[in-house]
Structure formats: C-alpha cells, structure tokens
C-alpha cells in the first residue's frame, strides 16, 4: 500500500516545492518558463525512474506501451516491466524521457549519490557529491567533442589489470605469507586484487571491505532513508524505532511513518 501512495506523495512534494520556490525564482529574476521547465524535467526523471506507477502529467502519450493510469494493484514483487536497463532501451524512442540517467545510474558501480553522466557535450566535469558516509567516487564523464575519451565510467576499487595476473611477484612486496594474520599463500592467490595492491593494510578485514565495495554498487543497493527515535541493543539483538522513512528496494520506493527494526548481529 505504501508503494501505491508514493505517486500522490511525490505529486504533493513536487507541487509544494514548485509553489514555494516561485517567489525565489522571481527574486532571482528567473522566468516562470524556467520554473515549468524544471518541473517538467523533474517529473520526467521521477517517472523514468519507475519507482512507482505514475500518471503522466500531460495527456500526451509519452508512454504508450508502458504505464497505464493508476493501476489498482501494484505488485511490487511481480514487476510487469522489464528491469531498467532493458526499459531504457525500449524507451529510447520516446521523447523527453531521459533514459541515460536511469541507465547509467544502474550501470554505475559507484555510490548512488553521485551524478550520472549526462548525454552530449553539455556536461563539463561536474564534481561528484560526497554525501552520506563520506562515499566519494570519481566518474569520468562522457564528453561529446572530446575524441578518444572513454565513455565507460570508472569504477572504484582495485584496477582491472589485477584480474589477469594470477599471482603477482611477491618478491617486491612484503611477503604476505609471513604475516600471522593472513591466510596461507595458496589461499591468498584467489584474492588477486588484494595481492596486487602496493599499499594495503594487512589488518583490514577483507570481509568488511568486500561489503563496503559492494555497498556502493549503485542504485541497485536497497537503501532506507529515515530518522531514528531509538536504537537499543541487548546482547546481540538490536532493536530500533525508525520514523518518516523512504525505502528504495528492488527498484521501487516505499514510504513509512514508523518502522520497527529487529536485527541479529552475528
């Protein structure tokens, strides 16, 4: 049910924001046309993200084959639409739908708070935004006029070169086998990326590292934004009371006013 109310909530938010910033726009001397342009772009992107079933703002058939007006049942699990990358391709024929941001966002292996690359020569290296948890990542943006620039965004973490070499010569680095906290050499050869790092803290917990790396894996990471009223722990049982939250899971958005969490810490 909270996924069904998402469109109306977002509609209310957009209208509220637009109404409130109108006088700001006037103060800055920006025309109302720009305001409407902003609203249109915003709505288009929200609809394109497909986090819920939206009614297109204009009666014009932007989505002839996809979203129907306010379907009564939003089975979040039984998603009738193909996953975003395929949808992006099928939607490419429709105008005004920016498929690239959706496409790139899901393709990017970076923290989902960074800006996706924009099409064409418009973008000139807008710096990524460091946000929650201090996750920053560097993306190389595709620029139209620059030839030979790779359009594939960079990925944080170990370089791709390390994947090919099975066992880099250990002689030039501190012998990892001699460190007591490390696994045996034969086991460490499977962790090829870690071995090829020149500077690598031997004390790092590889388990956590992998999780952190996967954690910033882009918009396919399910995430909850909320506030907490209470977080408590008894032995290994954690209980928390969360308020006013937005869940993004499995490509859909859900909202709650109150949430209880019960977790087991192993």
């Amino acid at each position: 049910m909270s996924n069904k109310i998402v469109p109306s909530i977002y509609r209310a938010v957009i209208d509220d924001v637009m109404g409130s910033i109108k006088h700001e726009f006037e103060e800055y001397g920006v025309s109302e046309e720009v305001l409407q342009d902003l609203q249109r772009k915003w709505e288009d992107k929200v609809i394109a993200s497909r986090v819920a079933e939206f009614d297109p703002p204009n009666p014009a058939p932007h989505f002839p084959s996809h979203s129907m007006p306010m379907m009564p049942q939003y089975a979040a699990v039984h998603n009738p639409y193909p996953p975003p990358p395929q949808v992006a391709q099928s939607q490419s024929s429709q105008q005004q739908v920016k498929t690239e941001p959706v496409d790139s966002r899901y393709m990017l292996n970076n923290a989902n708070y960074t800006l996706p690359p924009l099409p064409g020569p418009k973008l000139n290296g807008v710096p990524p935004r460091p946000n929650l948890g201090g996750q920053t990542s560097v993306i190389s943006f595709p620029s139209g006029p620059q030839p030979g620039r790779p359009t594939i965004p960079q990925v944080d973490g170990p370089s791709d070169d390390s994947d090919d070499s099975a066992t880099p010569p250990p002689a030039s680095y501190a012998p990892r086998a001699s460190h007591p906290s490390l696994p045996q050499p034969q086991a460490s050869s499977s962790a090829a990326p870690a071995d090829s790092e020149a500077i690598n803290s031997d004390l790092d917990d590889s388990d956590t590292e992998d999780e952190d790396l996967e954690d910033g894996a882009g918009a396919n990471t399910d995430i909850v934004f909320c506030t907490y009223d209470k977080v408590a722990r008894v032995k290994s049982k954690w209980k928390c009371i969360l308020k006013d939250g937005m869940i993004h899971a499995n490509g859909k958005d859900y909202l709650f006013s109150r949430c209880t969490g019960e977790f087991d810490w192993v």
Binding site: V13, L38, F225, Y228, D229, W238, F263
Partner: protein, 118 residues
C-alpha cells in the same frame, strides 16, 4: 513537524531526479547554483513535511545485522537478508542499507545542550 531538516533525502529517487534536473538547468545557464541550492533546501522541507503529514504506513524490518555505525548522530546499518513488511507488502532484500539521522525533536534538543551547560 520537524524543525531540523536533513539533506539526506536528496539521495532518494525523487531527490536525485530533482538534483539532476537542476544540474541540467545550471549547465544550460538558466539557473544559478545559488537558486538551485534554495530549491533543494525547499525540497528538504517539503518532503519531510509531506511524509510527516501524509504518510501513515507502518513498517517492520528484520534481518541479520552485518555492520553498524554511529557517527555524528547518524546510524548506518547494513542488513543481510532483510525482510521488510510495509502495510500489506513484503519486500525481501539480500542486502539493505539503513541510514538514519536523529529524529527531529531529539536533534533540536541535542543542538541546545552544549550551549546551556552551566
């Protein structure tokens, strides 16, 4: 109504959509960055108020807590094999991240404390 408005909602789908739209206009030159900041600040306020006002749904999350972090009054949890029950819907997620800031009343109370020490 929360008196402290957090900016982390800007990382949500609707927030990112707004940020992207504003960045397009900034690149086009039709909107100044200062104005865009004002819009985002207004978005923080509007979204927070709308959620408080219009959303009544209750949810429950269960799962295995992989990591927890508290820094600057922000809890970050990584949940493995999470099951989220929202109203009538159940969502399962192999990996779920929860970012929670201190709730409004606590935040404003906390903000006053250091200044009032006698």
């Amino acid at each position: 109504m929360a008196s402290v408005y957090y900016e982390f909602y800007r990382g949500s789908s609707v927030g990112m959509a707004l940020t992207d739209a504003l960045d397009e206009l900034i690149t086009e030159g039709t909107v100044t960055p200062q104005l865009a900041m004002k819009v985002l600040q207004q978005f923080d306020v509007s979204l927070a108020n709308t959620i408080v006002r219009d959303v009544k749904a209750k949810a429950k999350v269960k799962g295995q807590l992989r990591t927890y972090r508290l820094c600057d009054d922000v809890w970050t949890f990584m949940i493995k094999d999470a099951t989220v029950a929202v109203e009538n819907e159940v969502i399962k997620s192999p990996r779920l991240k929860i970012v929670a800031c201190k709730s409004g009343e606590l935040a404003t109370a906390g903000a006053h404390l250091p200044a009032e020490k006698h």
